[in-house]
């Protein structure tokens, strides 16, 4: 395998009962590459991320992280998963643990790292997302945007090689979206390999090295962001992008109304 390839997906098929959600997805993601997955709802974006992380049993194909194959419920999966950080739409911090414990739990218990060292790193990461003062707070005392930043820090503290973001701003109030996206942008600038599922088009355009457009469980279009947003090649991508545009109110009409 090419040494620069971090994640390799080959002919991935996933069905729920008779409903085929992913229908033969193949792509390679290079080290440091930021890939944004776009597509209409129900096209399989989230399922794709869940398959990459082994949260779903797949019906066909393969997912490789470095040389390791991701297999649902396999014995090696917990080990392989340490290389993958995942952040969910609903943050899902552990409600019974403080912020700092949320972050340090897995590094201490799973990776058996030194508690003092992990705590120090967690505090540095919290500082970077401006939440150090919340270290001793419980998740319920934080806003959605704050919780989501903690969830990102929690994943980062495991030193993952690749980060998966599953519509991480979809449940947030508009003014909190920015603080979360800024954290992700900063990660991109540091060279983190990422796959991002989002509906924030401007953000997608800014952060992505490559856009993957999914529809009907297949990759319909794959392009650099400037190409994709200015000159999409397929009709389906054009129709999809059109849904994010609004025609300005017609001036003639407003004049008539006066």
């Amino acid at each position: 395998m090419n040494k620069n390839i971090q994640l390799s997906i080959k002919d991935l098929v996933k069905s729920f009962d008779d409903n085929r959600i992913l229908n033969g997805i193949s792509t390679d993601i290079k080290k440091g590459e930021v890939v944004v997955v776009l597509g209409p709802s129900g096209c399989g974006k989230s399922t794709l991320l869940r398959c990459i992380n082994g949260l779903e049993a797949i019906n066909g194909g393969h997912v490789f992280i470095d040389e390791d194959e991701v297999v649902h419920n396999s014995k090696d999966l917990p080990k392989i998963r340490q290389k993958i950080g995942m952040v969910f739409q609903s943050y899902d911090l552990f409600p019974h643990k403080t912020i700092i414990d949320n972050i340090t739990l897995a590094p201490i218990k799973v990776q058996h790292r030194n508690k003092a060292e992990v705590t120090e790193e967690a505090e540095q990461l919290l500082e970077r997302v401006n939440l150090l003062d919340k270290a001793k707070a419980y998740p319920r005392q934080l806003s959605g945007g704050q919780k989501q930043r903690v969830a990102i820090v929690r994943a980062l503290c495991m030193h993952p090689e690749i980060m998966l973001f599953d519509e991480v701003t979809a449940a947030l109030d508009p003014e909190m979206v920015r603080e979360v996206l800024d954290v992700i942008l900063e990660l991109a600038n540091q060279g983190m390999t990422m796959i991002i599922v989002t509906h924030e088009m401007q953000f997608a355009r800014a952060v992505a090295d490559r856009i993957i457009f999914l529809d009907g469980g297949k990759i319909v279009e794959e392009a650099r962001p400037d190409e994709f947003f200015t000159a999409p090649k397929t009709a389906r991508a054009k129709a999809f992008l059109k849904t994010f545009e609004f025609d300005a109110k017609k001036k003639e009409m407003s004049r008539e109304a006066v």
């Binding site: 950080g85 409600p95 739990l105 897995a106 218990k109 929690r154």
Partner: protein, 219 residues
């Protein structure tokens, strides 16, 4: 009220209370272990075992403790298993309590959302670690009120032990009434003895619930 009588027979009540507590504690601890195992079997829907557990739970919850004790004490010797009254008490209490405890644990386990598993798994935890650090602490916080109610319920159920000739509190009280007709004094001491055992547990329960809610949901 004959206070002399009361002070004379207080040691008997203390002995009986010790026996009641001793059997109660052993029975309840066994019930908690049985309940935890049953709830995990049902939670993971382990084939065959989970059907057996379902049958056990229905059997145990839908028969009175007295009948279960008779079964153990008078029925088992017929198939060659002779158990002492003390052992019957512990086994009977564990058999009855196991199902109540199982239901209490189950309600807690089911209250933890799937996404909590997934976010713990995605941090590289194995099944055991997910249960230990993420699921069970949250489940317990939800279960504790039900579990404590079960403990109190089971301690009160020990009052039927006298039927299989166990010298528990109820037995002593009935004995004294039979011997001396000191009904008021005997029953007064009986009520007092149960209150002395159960009230601290109830108060501890209130405290524990508050603490666990704090641990569970950070408030």
């Amino acid at each position: 009220m004959d206070w002399n009588f009361i002070s004379q027979y207080t040691p008997m009540y203390i002995e009986a209370a010790k026996l009641t507590l001793w059997i109660g504690v052993l029975g309840i601890l066994s019930a908690i272990v049985i309940g935890l195992l049953c709830s995990i079997v049902q939670y993971y829907k382990i084939p065959i075992l989970s059907q057996i557990v379902s049958v056990y739970i229905e059997l145990s919850r839908n028969t009175p403790l007295l009948v279960q004790l008779f079964f153990l004490y008078f029925g088992f010797p017929k198939i060659g298993i002779v158990l002492s009254a003390e052992v019957c008490g512990v086994v009977g209490l564990a058999f009855l309590g196991g199902s109540y405890m199982a239901e209490g644990f189950r309600s807690g386990l089911e209250s933890v959302e799937t996404i909590q598993f997934e976010s713990a798994e995605s941090l590289g935890m194995n099944q055991l670690q997910v249960m230990r650090y993420v699921v069970i602490p949250q489940a317990l916080a939800v279960s504790v009120p039900a579990l404590v109610a079960n403990v109190i319920f089971l301690l009160k159920e020990t009052s039927v032990f006298s039927a299989i000739a166990l010298a528990d509190l109820m037995y002593v009280a009935k004995d004294l009434i039979g011997l001396y007709y000191m009904t008021t004094e005997s029953l007064f001491m009986l009520v007092l003895a149960y209150l002395i055992i159960l009230l601290p547990i109830s108060l501890l329960a209130v405290y524990l619930e508050r603490r666990l809610r704090y641990a569970g949901f950070g408030n």
